[in-house]
């Protein structure tokens, strides 16, 4: 016997509760077929590739630093952390526009698939304080991210990649 009421009122309440759960916590696995085979790849975000410059150099730090961009890189499917992956980062900061070459830099993930790059403070540009990240090497499909900061006073920003082999 299913533990749900089959009266009209009961079904309506169960449906509303399910709908509310989907809205607040995301769809459960049962209605997300893409996740049935494991970790789904990260899709590029709208506007993520804006002012992208190919082949930004790997740097210790962008400019004078003071702000941290970090995240993880994993493989789609099994979720294994990927090391030595080049992630490119740029933003409108206290030291330059997104279009300025010196606002761009890249870093590599460590053995745990974690990357972390110090850069100048991101400030609101075009109405939102946001950063840009790219995975643009050959092994996996290209992904462009554009995370937005909760507050323009934040001192760090996170973005995670799940990459799909080409």
């Amino acid at each position: 016997m299913l533990p749900i009421s089959t009266t009209r009122r009961g079904l309506f309440a169960a449906g509303a509760a399910f709908g509310a759960m989907v809205l607040t916590e995301g769809a459960p696995a049962i209605i997300l077929p893409a996740q049935a085979q494991g970790l789904a790849p990260t899709a590029s975000m709208r506007g993520g590739a804006n002012n992208y410059r190919p082949d930004a150099p790997v740097v210790q730090r962008i400019g004078n630093g003071g702000f941290w961009m970090s995240g993880t890189v994993r493989r789609a499917g099994d979720g294994a952390p990927l090391s030595g992956i080049r992630i490119q980062i740029w933003a409108h900061t206290t030291e330059g526009y997104e279009t300025d070459p010196h606002s761009h830099g890249a870093t590599l993930t460590d053995s745990n698939g974690v990357f972390r790059l110090e850069m100048p403070q991101i400030i609101p540009a075009f109405g939102q304080a946001h950063g840009h990240l790219a995975y643009d090497s050959d092994t996996f499909k290209t992904v462009f991210l554009r995370p937005v900061m909760q507050s323009s006073r934040d001192k760090s920003l996170k973005a995670d990649f799940v990459l799909q082999p080409v």
């Binding site: 975000m45 709208r46 506007g47 993520g48 590739a49 804006n50 002012n51 409108h92 900061t93 206290t94 526009y97 997104e98 279009t99 400030i123 609101p124 540009a125 075009f126 109405g127 939102q128 304080a129 554009r146 937005v148 323009s152």
Partner: protein, 208 residues
């Protein structure tokens, strides 16, 4: 009494505009913007301020600018508003073209840009209609309904656009200016009762 009222109206309108511009002019964000971006941002603030003047001028609410004179100024302010919008968009384009292209194509990740683009096209259409009203000999009914409808879009789109932006405007002065824009437009809209044209029967339809 009347002069106190007149002074008060002008003080509120001019105060809201001057204070908004002054606060935007002292924003710390300006330190990290080049002149073109600064001008583009200011053109946006100015455009919002001009949108506040338009319903007041069209309805003759500003003391000393009764309807006939107010309408003449309304046309010039309308032209200035179009210029401000063009400078705003052009300056942003020069600063970061891909972001503006995304916005114009309604493909921007920023939730406010679509509102701004809608307001922009509505303002262009409202101004074009005003310019073509006499050459095309538009029917007063068509003219009033379409101009009123379009400028309502300008007000809603412009205000939502401004409120959602994290930019140079101070949050309180922005809220006050937007509230005044909505209030002035709403009062003018209800005062002029343009929608009556939608339901009023035409003289030839009346049964004698």
């Amino acid at each position: 009494m009347t002069s106190i009222r007149a002074t008060l109206i002008w003080a509120v309108v001019a105060g809201a505009i001057v204070v908004s511009l002054a606060i935007a002019g002292t924003s710390p964000l300006l330190a990290w913007r080049a002149p073109i971006y600064i001008v583009a941002g200011f053109a946006g603030v100015l455009a919002l301020a001009l949108v506040l003047l338009q319903p007041l001028l069209a309805s003759g609410y500003l003391p000393g600018l009764a309807v006939a004179r107010g309408r003449r100024v309304h046309r010039w302010v309308g032209a200035a508003l179009i210029a401000a919008i063009v400078i705003h968009v052009a300056g942003l384009w020069l600063t970061s073209a891909p972001d503006v292209i995304d916005a114009l194509l309604f493909d921007s990740p920023a939730p406010f840009s679509a509102w701004g683009v809608i307001a922009m096209w509505a303002a262009f259409a409202a101004a074009l209609l005003a310019a073509l009203r006499r050459p095309l000999d538009l029917k007063p009914q068509l003219w009033r309904l379409s101009h009123t409808g379009l400028v309502t879009l300008v007000v809603i789109g412009g205000v939502v656009h401004a409120l959602l932006i994290d930019g140079t405007m101070g949050s309180v002065s922005k809220l006050v200016l937007c509230a005044l824009v909505v209030a002035a437009s709403a009062v003018a809209l209800f005062d002029r009762r343009t929608w009556i044209l939608l339901t009023r029967r035409k003289p030839q339809d009346r049964r004698l």
